[in-house]
Amino acid sequence: MYQYDNYDQAMVDARVAEFRDQVSRRLEGKLTEEQFRPLRLMNGLYLQLHAYMLRVAVPYGTLSGRQMRMLGHIARKYDRGYGHFTTRQNIQYNWIKLSDAPDILADLASVEMHAIQTSGNCIRNISSDQYAGVAADEVADPRPWAELMRQWSSFHPEFSYLPRKFKIAVIASPEDRAAMRLHDIGLELVKRDGVIGARVFVGGGMGRTPMVAPEVNPFVTEDEIIAYVEACLRVYNRYGRRDNKYKARIKILVHELGVEEYRRQVAEEFAHMKALGLNPPREELARIAAYFADPAYEGGLPDALDRSDPDFALWVDRNVATHKQPGYAIVNISLKPIGGIPGDASADQIELMADLAERYSMDELRVTHAQNIVLPYVRKAELYALWQELHAAGLGEPNLDLVTDIIACPGLDYCSLANARSIPVAQKIAQRFAGNGKDAHIGELKLKISGCINACGHHHAGHIGILGVDRKGTENYQLLLGGSGAEDCSLGTITGPGFDENGIVDAVEKATDLYLRERAEGERFLDTYRRLGMAPFKEAIYG
């Protein structure tokens, strides 16, 4: 994985020193909150419902064991013994003291991490496929491009004060595991006549106005990706709606201009930029790509597994994915224990996962947008030993992509923007479906819950989505069906009137019961919904 050079480290260290001074001046009264607020947000420090909250960037979701161990250390020393992995592959701490924040950033900098650009109207952490570099179906490892974009976008002076926040995802497989088309810019690396390039999608997003990004360019060659993305941003920076926060995202601009006109303006800007020769040199991409070269795989490793332990066999079937290298496997660690809090991990668990990565996965982990953890390089021969350790630590839940593997935002239990709690609903649904055994019968069903219209829980992209709203001071939950953040990207549709906390659990069960009755051979819940349409589901839910 990528390692900081002196320039990277100096940049991050300088930011720590700068923020230490800013915090000191704030506490001494030399800065007002109005002056200080944008400064703390630039360092990922929010003020939430209960305390300050720190969001730490995990670039494209990739971590070393040393970095993961530091995340556990921070949870134990500065927080209340746990952290929350987010839908943007980052981690958040909920109980941070302002006076501790500079020390935390210094600790992060000591392992090449930071919280820069995890808030504010700038280019946020670049997200990617958690199987990058090990997926059998990818045309290239997307992480070198993600890292190149991280460097290009960090402190980019032109894009530090955009109309609104800006999110970019890079994938390189036909199977989209990163909700790429629901980003402001989504890049899918493809190969055409032996040449790597990118399909460029612009103007996707969730929030109060969800949109699937249209394709703006079917192929930009790898040497020109940065310049083309910069052209996309320039048009947005120039014409994005700064007058209205709710219309300021690029998706609104693309929608209002029309994709043809937006494409034309980007092409014009791109032509102007090409003449300036602003593309990074090929040697820089090669330098970065060298950090992501395949590790030294052992040859001749066995693929066969001893499946005599049924609990282990079930976990393998559910949570282990195919690796491109014979003898190896991709392991998904579920952070969705039944009745637990989606995405939360204790300091002990975080440190254990760091240890397991060092011993079983060539010192590397990934955070997924579904709030789980991946160990990307596990020898199949060691899967059983690994599973035993995970199982003993409460990290062996065999439920990847099942109805109990729920994405949920922190909701009203933690978030000052939320209208309703998300986590208790996730807990009740998981307990209901694990308790009655229907989770296994249903198979793949991506259920996503947001506690407000900002959609941090990706409810628009859930096969089943749930949106918490405030109805005269009471929590109420709307049900959506038919969303997908994958390559078959679509937005969910609201079924009808909302429900209370128990009613929404019943409604989900009624929808899935209909699916179980009506599904054709091989159909997922989403497939059956798309075939039948909304009407029979509405009848089952409200009839």
Partner: protein, 98 residues
């Protein structure tokens, strides 16, 4: 009644105006009547707290109960982590919040 809440500037802890200073206990919050905004501004200027705001509440046998669920969770702690609330010994207090 009108009660006043804020976050302690240095620690971020949720605090409530208790008449002669700030308390971490919602039960000690006092009615600020029409003075809440002024007290909040004064305390922010003194760098004791940040993000002060007035909340509608009703007095109950257990002390002030905020009118909105958001401030009830703010006063108690996350309902999904009873161990981290101000009353961990009381266990699940969801009924009080809802």
């Amino acid at each position: 009644m009108k009660i006043l809440t804020a976050n302690d500037l240095a620690t971020g802890d949720v605090v409530w105006w208790a008449g002669d200073g700030w308390s971490r206990l919602l039960a000690q919050a006092v009615d600020t009547a029409s003075e809440g905004d002024a007290i909040g501004k004064r305390e922010e200027a003194a760098r004791h707290v940040v993000s002060a705001y007035v909340v509608d509440a009703e007095m109950t046998a257990d002390g002030p109960r905020p009118a909105h669920i958001k401030e009830r969770i703010r006063g108690l702690g996350p309902t999904v982590r009873p161990d981290l609330t101000l009353k961990p010994e009381a266990g699940d207090l969801t009924a009080w919040v809802i």
